[in-house]
């Protein structure tokens, strides 16, 4: 686990995605800067890289929205490798056609399940227009954390889906009990399954937050966001007993049973890990709701770097995709960010600044000019 398995993208081909008719680029290692005016398609290149690894866009939940105006099918393909040492490369492809849906393949072989295709630890993305990891709904913050855990904790995704399945069963039982008057006593069987899986989910989330917290505070301060950065898991229900796994399971079982009358009236499970949130703040100030746009940007970036540190420590090196990240940082903070990126990872960042302070960038930086429908070195 200590050997890094850094992810690399070697080439990317985009067909009919947003403003791009067709684009094919080879992407070198190290720091890559996409430079060009607003609207030239820099963000769409970053978006395409996210789609090629996670299968979803950070900007929309509807892949259909990505299809170029006069086209009906879009396609993104790319060659990625997982480890420099073993040179494990894979050719990944995702296509989407309106009315037909999504198609996935790896090395030419179709993959039906997104879960078998996506690589949750292979990219981390920052987009200033999409600060969902900080100011979005709780689900967005949970998803970011769970994606990290999926990559780091063996069995986490099975426990998460087990919890979700048991909760769906309990909800169905409560709804039918509400409408037909059948006895909901068998709910306890589902509650026990929810507790067993939910305890692992919550404990994993707590452990991850404990690991992320000092790193988040460190990066927040380094990027000029101030001292006293705090992350906390806001567990649902909030009064969970926590000494060990058995206590956590027992606490969940007790809470689910106690809240059954209320949940029966609501027709759904009102508390549980599916309602967890992550407090993001400075001191006791809630940055999720009260932070300025600038503070939220910095917090999102600090969170991303904290995730990066954790993945790296666990032996996985994500590709960092940073859209328009330099524009609102003053020179000192730019330096701090660029210094943070001099690890051995691949970093792709975009800038609309025509004379992006080239002096600041490391000598081995590759700069692509993106304008007028082309992208070249």
């Amino acid at each position: 686990m200590t050997d890094g398995h850094p992810w690399r993208v070697h080439d990317l081909e985009i067909t009919d995605v947003r403003c791009w008719n067709h684009l094919s680029i080879e992407i070198p290692n190290g720091l890559v800067v996409l430079c060009g005016p607003n609207g030239a398609g820099k963000t769409s290149i970053i978006e395409a890289l996210v789609i090629a690894t996670l299968g979803v866009s950070p900007r929309t939940s509807q892949l259909g929205e990505l299809i170029r105006a006069s086209a009906s099918v879009m396609r993104v393909t790319g060659t990625f490798s997982e480890s420099r040492a073993h040179d494990m490369t894979q050719h990944r492809e995702i296509g989407y056609a309106s009315g037909v849906g999504r198609r996935l393949s790896i090395d030419g072989a179709p993959v039906r399940q997104l879960a078998q295709w996506r690589r949750p630890s292979s990219v981390l993305v920052f987009m200033p227009e999409e600060l969902r990891a900080v100011k979005g709904p709780p689900a967005a913050r949970r998803r970011g954390l769970d994606r990290l855990l999926e990559a780091m904790v063996p069995g986490f995704s099975e426990h998460l889906s087990g919890y979700q399945e048991a909760t769906t069963q309990r909800n169905a039982l409560l709804r039918r009990a509400r409408s037909t008057g059948i006895d909901p006593a068998s709910a306890f069987a589902w509650e026990t399954r929810m507790a067993t899986h939910g305890a692992v989910v919550v404990q994993s989330r707590r452990d991850a937050i404990t690991e992320l917290r000092p790193r988040f505070a460190f990066w927040l301060e380094a990027l000029g966001g101030g001292s006293g950065g705090v992350l906390e898991l806001e567990s649902s229900p909030s009064n969970l007993c926590a000494v060990d796994n058995d206590a956590l399971v027992a606490s969940f079982v007790e809470q689910f049973a106690r809240l059954r009358p209320r949940d029966l009236a609501a027709g759904l499970t009102t508390t549980g890990p599916h309602r967890d949130d992550i407090w993001i703040g400075i001191g006791d100030r809630d940055l999720r709701r009260l932070g300025s746009q600038g503070e939220q940007r910095t917090a999102a970036l600090a969170l991303l770097l904290a995730h990066r540190d954790l993945l790296r420590a666990a032996g996985s090196g994500p590709i960092l995709l940073l859209d328009d990240v330099l524009s609102e940082l003053d020179p000192g903070r730019r330096q701090a960010l660029l210094a943070a990126l001099t690890g051995d990872e691949q970093v792709i960042l975009s800038s609309a600044d025509p004379d992006v302070s080239f002096a600041d960038l490391p000598a081995e930086t590759t700069i692509f000019q993106v304008r007028d429908g082309v992208c070249h070195v």
């Binding site: 769906t168 069963q169 309990r170 169905a172 059948i182 068998s186 306890f188 026990t192 399954r193």
Partner: protein, 197 residues
Amino acid sequence: MLTPSLERLIAELSRLPGVGPRSAQRLAFHLLKAPNERTLALAGALTQMSERLRPCSRCFSFAEDELCPICQDQRRDRTLLCVVEEPSSILPIERTHEYRGYYHVLGGALSPIDGIDPGDLRIDELVRRVDAEGVTELIVATNPTMTGEATALYLSDLLRGKVQLTRLASGLPVGADLEYADELTLGRALLGRRVLE
């Protein structure tokens, strides 16, 4: 080119699990070429099965008489009862030769999203048998799936104090039905069964 009777045969065959329209056609043409007595034997077996088979009045597995062959066998151990979801789980357990008690078929597992509640399973009948037949150990051999585990939990709560409840040891492929487990693994899981708290 297909006649109505051939079309009907293909339609019926393609309802079978794992048989698509193409393999249904292949099977139909294969049957066409087979000697007449073979196809009549197959048809006879199907007719006999649907006419004679009925649920065993005690365990709800398949029977041709009042009781299934296992329930008719007086030499088995009356103190042991093994609960399964479907009759298809009985055969793999029998093949392990590690079990000499009787069975009870629930007819499925709890699954509210599919509308299956305790009242839809043969749970009342199970409680009556535990009370009436002198059972001392109830082996809950529902499938190692989400719905099978929840059903096991429900039964253990319902029958706690009446009978010793045990569950097959872990090691069975999680998420799959018992009928897909190999004999060796299933035999080990039976021998290593643990008491349900």
